[in-house]
């Protein structure tokens, strides 16, 4: 019971920006956002990074802030962190034209050639990559309400018109539900991480004395399998796996966030 009350309070807290009394605090964040943009325009990119980071930490985790952060890191010649933030932004606004342009440009600057093949699910549910988790969630929620409304209507009326609407909505509801479920699973199971250092050696084991297997460069996206004692096991393809210091990579999915 106490937990439920806690969750309710948390969700109410999320709605606080809409409360008129919180306008002053909202104004402060807007000023910080303005200052960050100004710092970027004047070439003070580190200051811009700090300000955008502060906004993100304060809970303003929208795609535009990650995009701006990626731009600032790009200007600081930190390609790895730029791609990391662009990828985070892409999870939230996958169809943003500016973001996709900059991300492609940043990817062009990376040195390692990494080929990723699309799986069956990605090929079948091809639209998943173009829609964010929240967009799919809202699609599902709307169709869910519509579906059950029609099911309820059918309790009172069994007309042909309602039946056909029911069939159409049922199919849409199933597709939206499956898409949302898959996206939710993919986001939750997203183990991608970005190489942050200019160049890192991937070792055969979690020890500096182990054999160096291959080198990777900043901006390359790898899959992080697990971590042990400050080392992470990464995978590039089925044939290329190895260990790297955990501080040399950062996961795209932020822990505790979607």
């Amino acid at each position: 019971m106490r937990k439920i009350i806690g969750i309710i309070l948390l969700d109410l807290f999320a709605l606080l920006p809409f409360v008129p009394g919180m306008a002053t605090e909202s104004q402060q964040w807007e000023e910080l956002f303005f200052e960050a943009n100004q710092a970027y325009k004047e070439g003070r990119f580190q200051e811009a990074v700090d300000a955008y980071g502060q906004l993100i930490k304060s809970g303003h985790s929208n795609g535009h802030l990650f995009y701006n952060m990626g731009n600032s890191y790009f200007r600081l010649d930190e390609l790895g962190r730029a791609i990391l933030n662009y990828e985070r932004a892409r999870l939230l606004m996958p169809r943003d034209a500016d973001l996709n342009f900059n991300l492609n440009y940043a990817r062009d600057q990376t040195r390692d050639v990494v080929s990723e093949s699309d799986g069956f699910v990605s090929t079948t549910f091809f639209w998943l990559d173009s829609l964010s988790l929240h967009e799919l969630l809202w699609s599902f929620v709307v169709l869910n309400v519509l579906f059950w409304a029609i099911v309820i209507a059918r309790l009172f009326s069994a007309s042909d018109g309602i039946y056909y609407v029911f069939v159409v909505v049922l199919v849409s509801w199933l597709v939206a539900g499956a898409s949302f479920g898959l996206k939710w699973y993919h986001v939750g199971a997203d183990d991608r991480a970005v190489i942050l250092n200019k160049e890192v050696k991937i070792l055969a084991g979690p020890d500096i004395q182990d054999t160096a297997l291959f080198k990777l460069h900043t901006g390359t996206i790898v899959h992080r399998e697990r971590s042990e004692d400050g080392w992470s096991l990464i995978r590039l393809s089925h044939k290329k796996r190895g260990w790297v210091k955990s501080e040399a990579i950062e996961r795209i999915i932020r822990i505790g966030r979607v």
Binding site: I4, I7, I8, D11, A14, P17, W29, E30, F33, F34, N37, Y40, A48, L55, H60, N62, H64, L65, Y67, N68, N71, S72, F74, D98, F101, N102, Y105, A106, L133, H134, L137, W138, F140, V141, N144, V145, F147, W148, A149, V151, I152, L155, F180, W184, V258
Partner: protein, 584 residues
């Protein structure tokens, strides 16, 4: 008819080819397989005639007074490139020098259809063969040599390997020596020729490498090992039937030969006179620049092209940068590096382009770009620079719609000529600075309470609706049961408490049956009533009693005694109780 059509279709492409062949220009070229040889080597020369399948006579060769020439045959060729037919003929010659020196061979003159065409010339350096003092090295040996025993850091030296053989060999493989701080890069494919060593003729297989040292010091290079299968002719008795080249059987055996060590002294680049902008470029380089167009309108772009080319460590050619120009936007293109090689080493060029977009009219001086490199032959640093350029900018046209003088003509309707959109530069797009980008939408976390509330509320609503319907249905049933239970009491009570008239009693019995069995019948015949009782488990006797009562009541009603009391022949309460009992 079909055949004629088919043949016409086959011949049609050939008809298109005829003008191409006819229009092909005749040209003659002369090339040597190398630029340096010893007096004991033979080298190959090819005279190529393009645009004609033959000549009126054999080529006339000039500049071969100091050589012995052997005809090596001819070969014809036909190439179709992008629909254009290019035919030609190659004349091959093997040339043996008679004395050392620098010679210019050519031009070769060819007469085609009465017209005389001349080729280019080629230069070759013939050097004396350094003879080993009376050492006979057998029918197979590998020799190695350097173009120079001294070199500078990043300077390229030519490392030459020669497989001298008098026997047939196959399956040749090479193991190059690995020396730290030395890099070997092969220059072209191996080539073969004949040479004389210690009075014996050898077939030479030569391969060359550019050798570049990254650190100073004395290096011993080698031995380089070459493995192969050697076939030695098997000796047979003279006058044998098989004593013919056609039947010269031979057996192969694996052999590895090694070259001698060669010494290379790598010198450091001198500190004296080293320019501040020196970036490690060593060799011989040239720089060229051009500005096209040199006059533009304000807002339009001109292209500055700089080509830095030469021989040496071309991979170290730097990316030049154009300094900031006032009132001019500068967009750098991706530099293009081309690396090639000839028998003297690596050659290459880097082409750099910038789009210059002046914003206002005037004369703009384009700054001179400089590059420094070390010249190993001159043993000093050299600075090369681009030519000065001036960009003349005239006022741009105001953006307004102009009435075209030749309005109505086709040209005016076509508008300006279209062209591919040219990429002038690449960069990221700016940050999103709109304040609405900061404002969050109504965020619902998947798996959160709000999410489950939103998702499950419709399901709950459906469940409630379903329950409500079922409850209503159940309630209707319960009311019916209650009414059924009360039906007997009602009719008995009504019968006892009032003087029952036939019409009322008939109505009460009908209501009793309706209530008791959940029916909603407006009228009931005596037969129907008995039937209802029978179907609900009432005995025939009791059902018939009720039927008789109802028939009497009907008689009373239809005989005008509906409002008078009548004898129904039965104790109604008892009959009802009997019915209730039998329904049980």
């Amino acid at each position: 008819m079909t055949r004629v059509f088919r043949n016409s279709c086959l011949l049609l492409p050939l008809l298109f080819l005829i003008p191409c062949v006819a229009s092909a220009k005749v040209s003659v070229s002369l090339r040597l397989d190398r630029t340096e040889a010893t007096v004991l080597d033979s080298f190959k020369m090819v005279v190529s005639i393009s645009g004609s399948r033959g000549s009126d006579s054999k080529p006339v060769l000039r500049g071969l007074e100091s050589f012995s020439v052997t005809q090596g045959g001819t070969s014809s060729r036909v190439k179709i490139i992008n629909g254009r037919v290019n035919s030609g003929i190659d004349y091959t010659y093997f040339i043996q020098p008679n004395k050392p020196g620098r010679f210019e061979i050519g031009p070769a003159q060819v007469t085609v259809e009465g017209k005389t065409f001349s080729s280019n010339t080629a230069t070759i350096m013939i050097v004396d063969q350094p003879q080993s003092a009376g050492v006979d090295r057998g029918p197979l040996f590998l020799s190695a040599g350097l173009s120079s025993t001294k070199a500078y850091i990043e300077d390229q030296t030519i490392y030459t390997l020669k497989l001298n053989r008098q026997v047939r060999v196959t399956d040749i493989s090479l193991a190059l020596p690995e020396v730290e701080h030395l890099v070997l890069k092969q220059l072209g494919k191996p080539f073969e020729y004949q040479s004389v060593y210690q009075g014996k003729t050898y077939q030479i297989l030569e391969v060359r490498y550019a050798l570049i040292a990254s650190r100073e010091g004395n290096y011993s290079i080698g031995p380089t090992k070459m493995s192969m299968t050697v076939y030695e002719p098997r000796r047979r008795s003279p006058r044998s039937f098989f004593d013919d080249p056609f039947f010269s059987f031979s057996t192969g055996k694996p052999i590895t030969v090694a070259s001698d060590l060669v010494e290379l002294n790598v010198l450091p680049l001198p500190e004296e006179g080293r320019p501040a902008d020196f970036g490690g470029l060593v060799g011989s380089f040239q720089i060229e620049s051009k500005l096209e167009p040199s006059e533009v309108k304000a807002g339009e772009s001109a292209t500055l092209t700089v080509v830095l080319s030469g021989r040496g460590n071309v991979n170290r050619i730097p990316d030049l940068k154009v300094p900031k120009l006032e009132q001019t936007k500068v967009y750098a293109d991706q530099p293009v590096l081309q690396v090639e090689h000839d028998d003297k080493g690596l050659v290459g060029s880097k082409t750099m382009k910038w789009a210059l977009v002046p914003e206002d009219q005037g004369l703009y001086e384009i700054p001179v770009l400089t590059v420094s490199y070390f010249h190993p032959q001159y043993r000093r640093y050299v600075r090369i620079r681009t030519s000065p350029h001036t960009l003349s900018v005239v006022p741009g046209e105001p953006e307004q719609v102009k009435a075209s003088a030749d309005f109505g003509s086709d040209k005016a309707l076509e508008g300006p000529s279209k062209q591919e959109v040219k990429e002038l530069g690449r960069d990221i797009l700016p940050v999103h600075a709109s304040i609405k980008d900061l404002r969050p939408g109504f965020e619902v976390r998947p798996g959160g309470l709000v999410f489950w509330v939103i998702t499950l509320t419709p399901v709950l609503a459906y469940s409630l609706a379903l329950c409500g319907m079922r409850f209503r249905k159940k309630s209707a049933g319960a009311v019916a049961a209650t009414r059924a239970k009360k039906a007997a009491n009602t009719i008995v009570r009504q019968y006892r408490h009032s003087q029952v008239r036939p019409s009322d009693l008939a109505l009460q019995i009908r209501n009793y049956l309706n209530d008791r069995f959940g029916l909603s019948l407006g009228s009931l015949t005596p037969g129907e009533s008995a039937e209802i009782l029978r179907s609900n488990g009432v005995s025939l006797n009791t059902a018939e009693k009720l039927r008789a009562v109802l028939e009497r009541l009907e008689d009373a009603v239809y005989t005008g005694k509906a409002h008078e009391s009548c004898d129904i022949g039965e104790n109604m309460p008892r009959l009802i109780k009997q019915i209730e009992k039998e329904i049980g």
